[in-house]
C-alpha cells in the first residue's frame, strides 16, 4: 500500500504521535548524528546515517537485567522490567533495519530475550530511503536496496516537497491511515519515485556468494588472516559501531546492601574475550580478526542462512588504521 505526505504534515503527524509515544528522530549531538527525542523540530534533510548504530536502542550498550537487595536477613532478586512504553523511530536506514531483523533470531529464538523482544514490539519503525552512498559502505553488495525495504513498518522515500510512503505492516497501516495527514498513492507512483544513489559503486565490489564460499575456504588459511590483521590494533571500534555485532558481557555492580547485574557490549577483538582459567583459544590477533569476519560471513550464515553484515560501512570509515573489510572480502571472493 502506498501513501503520500508533505514534509510539514509529516512533522505535524509526528507531533500528534508524540502524545502517545516517545518519538526519536535523527539529530546532531556533539557533532555526531544520532537518534534523539523529537522536540517538534524540522526534520533534517542532510542525514546520512548515525555514527552509533540504532541497534543500541534495541540492544543497549548498558542494560540493567536484574537487581538484588539484602535487608534484615532476607535476600531478594528482582528482574528489571521488560520495556513496554510505545516508541516511534523515524529516519532509520534500510541497512540498520535489516540488522535489527538479523538479530531477531539470535535474541528471540530459543530462550527469547524479553528485553530485545520488548524493544522490537514496542517500536514503530519508520524508515527512510538513502540518496547518497555512505563512505565505506557496500550495502547493495550484501543485498540491501537503499531505496526500498520491507524491514520497517512504514518506509519513506523523499520526493519534491514531501515523501512517498510504502506501508508494510498492519500497525503502520493503522497509523498512516489518518486522512488529514496522508493521501493515497500508487505502486506506479512509488516505482517512478525511485532515485539514483549519489556516489554509488557503479560496479559491485564483490559477489556475495563468492565471499561466502571464500569465507569457508579461507578459514584454515592462517597466513591470510595474519596478513590482513597485521595492522589491527585490537580496539573495539568495528564491533561497537557495527549494527549486527551482538556479543555481550554480564557485569555486576555492588553497593552496600544492593547491586545490579548489567549487560554491556563486549568485543571479539579484545584478547580477554575468550580468556579462561588455563588457556585462551583466541589468544592471537589473527584468530580474533578471523572470528569477527567468519562470524559474519561463515558461521552466522550457517546458523541463520544469512550473512550478518549489512554493509553500512561504519567499520570501514572509522577504523583507526583503515583496516578495510571490503578489501578482505574482496580477497576472500577471489
Amino acid at each position: 500500500m502506498y501513501r503520500k505526505i508533505t514534509r510539514e504534515k509529516l512533522r505535524k503527524w509526528l507531533i500528534g504521535l508524540s502524545a502517545r509515544a516517545e518519538i526519536l528522530v535523527p539529530a546532531k549531538m556533539n557533532g555526531l548524528w544520532t537518534f534523539r527525542l523529537f522536540h517538534n523540530q524540522e526534520l533534517p534533510q542532510n542525514f546520512l546515517n548515525s555514527r552509533i548504530p540504532p541497534k543500541n536502542l534495541f540492544f543497549e550498550p548498558l542494560k540493567g537485567l536484574l537487581g538484588w537487595k539484602a535487608a534484615d536477613g532476607s535476600f531478594q532478586v528482582n528482574s528489571c522490567p521488560a520495556p513496554e512504553a510505545a516508541r516511534v523511530i523515524f529516519g532509520l536506514k534500510p541497512c540498520d533495519a535489516r540488522a535489527l531483523r538479523l538479530l531477531q533470531p539470535v535474541f528471540t529464538g530459543d530462550y527469547p530475550d524479553v528485553f530485545y523482544a520488548g524493544n522490537l514490539s514496542r517500536t514503530l519503525l519508520l524508515g527512510q530511503a538513502c540518496r547518497v552512498q555512505c563512505q565505506g559502505s557496500f550495502c547493495s553488495e550484501v543485498g540491501i536496496d537503499r531505496q526500498d525495504s520491507v524491514d520497517f513498518d512504514v518506509f519513506f522515500r523523499e520526493i519534491a516537497g514531501g515523501y512517498i510512503v510504502r506501508v508494510i505492516t498492519e500497525k503502520g497501516n493503522t497509523l498512516t491511515g489518518e486522512k488529514e495527514f496522508f493521501e493515497e498513492s500508487s505502486a506506479g507512483e512509488w516505482n517512478s519515485a525511485k532515485e539514483e544513489i549519489r556516489g554509488k559503486n557503479e560496479i559491485p565490489l564483490f559477489n556475495l556468494e563468492k565471499v561466502k564460499a571464500g569465507a569457508r575456504e579461507r578459514f584454515p588459511d592462517e597466513d591470510f588472516w595474519m596478513r590482513v590483521s597485521a595492522k589491527c590494533i585490537n580496539c573495539g571500534i568495528c564491533t561497537y559501531l557495527c549494527p549486527t555485532c551482538h556479543c555481550f558481557d554480564l557485569c555486576d555492580l555492588q553497593r552496600p546492601g544492593q547491586g545490579v547485574r548489567f549487560r554491556c557490549f563486549d568485543s571479539c577483538a579484545f584478547p580477554d574475550f575468550t580468556k579462561m582459567a588455563v588457556h585462551n583459544p583466541r589468544e592471537e590477533k589473527w584468530r580474533r580478526y578471523r572470528q569477527r569476519v567468519s562470524h559474519k560471513f561463515n558461521f552466522f550464515y550457517e546458523n541463520f542462512q544469512t550473512v550478518a553484515c549489512v554493509g553500512c560501512g561504519r567499520c570501514v570509515a572509522h577504523c583507526p588504521v583503515n583496516l578495510d573489510l571490503r578489501e578482505v572480502l574482496l580477497e576472500m571472493a577471489r
Binding site: L24, M29, T34, F35, R36, L37, S50, I52, N56, L57, E60, P61, L62, K63, G64, G67, N78, C80, P81, P83, L253, R255, Q258, G259, V260, F262
Partner: protein
C-alpha cells in the same frame, strides 16, 4: 559536582563519608595519638593504613570516588621524614598532577585533600580531619557515580535528553 539543593533537603542529617589513606609511620601514628590523647575529631573518616603515602596510587583515589565516598584524605610524613627516604617526595609529584587534573574535570579539589601529619602532631590531625569534613559537608554528597535508578537502567543514545 556541587550538591543539589533537593538532596540536602531530602537528607537533613546527612554526614559525609571520608576515606583517609594514612601512612603507617607518621599520620596513622598521629591519628592513634590523637585518639589516645582523647582529642575528639569528626567520626566521618574511615582510616585505611598504607605503608607510605607513596603507596597511594592515584587509581585508589579515582576508584574511591567512583565507589561513592564523599571525600578523600591522603596523609603522610612531612618532606624529609619519610621512613623510606623519598616515598612522600614521589607521592607529592603524583598528587600535584592528580589534584590539578581532578579540578580540571570538575571534581572540587576540596573533595580530595592531602596533608602532612607527623606521629606527634595530634592537634594537627584533628584539625585537618575537621577541616576536610567541614569542606566536604559544604560540598554535599558525592552523587557523581551512584547506581543508576532501578528500572531505568538502560543507556542508549537517547536516554538522557535535556
Amino acid at each position: 559536582m556541587e550538591a543539589k539543593p533537593e538532596t540536602e533537603k531530602k537528607e537533613k542529617n546527612w554526614e559525609p563519608k571520608i576515606l583517609a589513606f594514612l601512612c603507617r609511620w607518621c599520620s596513622y601514628a598521629g591519628a592513634d595519638l590523637t585518639g589516645s590523647s582523647r582529642i575528639s575529631y569528626p567520626a566521618n573518616v574511615r582510616i585505611l593504613r598504607v605503608p607510605c603515602s607513596g603507596r597511594v596510587n592515584p587509581l585508589f583515589i579515582l576508584k574511591t570516588l567512583r565507589s561513592g565516598m564523599d571525600g578523600i584524605l591522603v596523609s603522610g610524613c612531612h618532606p624529609g621524614d619519610c621512613h623510606y627516604t623519598a616515598g612522600n617526595y614521589n607521592a607529592r609529584r603524583k598528587f600535584a598532577i592528580l589534584s590539578r587534573l581532578l579540578e580540571y574535570v570538575g571534581i572540587d579539589p576540596r573533595r580530595v585533600q592531602f596533608s602532612w601529619v607527623s606521629a606527634s602532631e595530634r592537634d594537627k590531625f584533628a584539625k585537618v580531619v575537621s577541616a576536610v569534613v567541614a569542606d566536604v559537608k559544604a560540598l554535599g554528597p558525592n552523587e557523581l557515580f551512584q547506581l543508576p535508578d532501578f528500572g531505568q537502567m538502560t543507556k542508549g543514545p537517547t536516554s538522557p535528553d535535556p
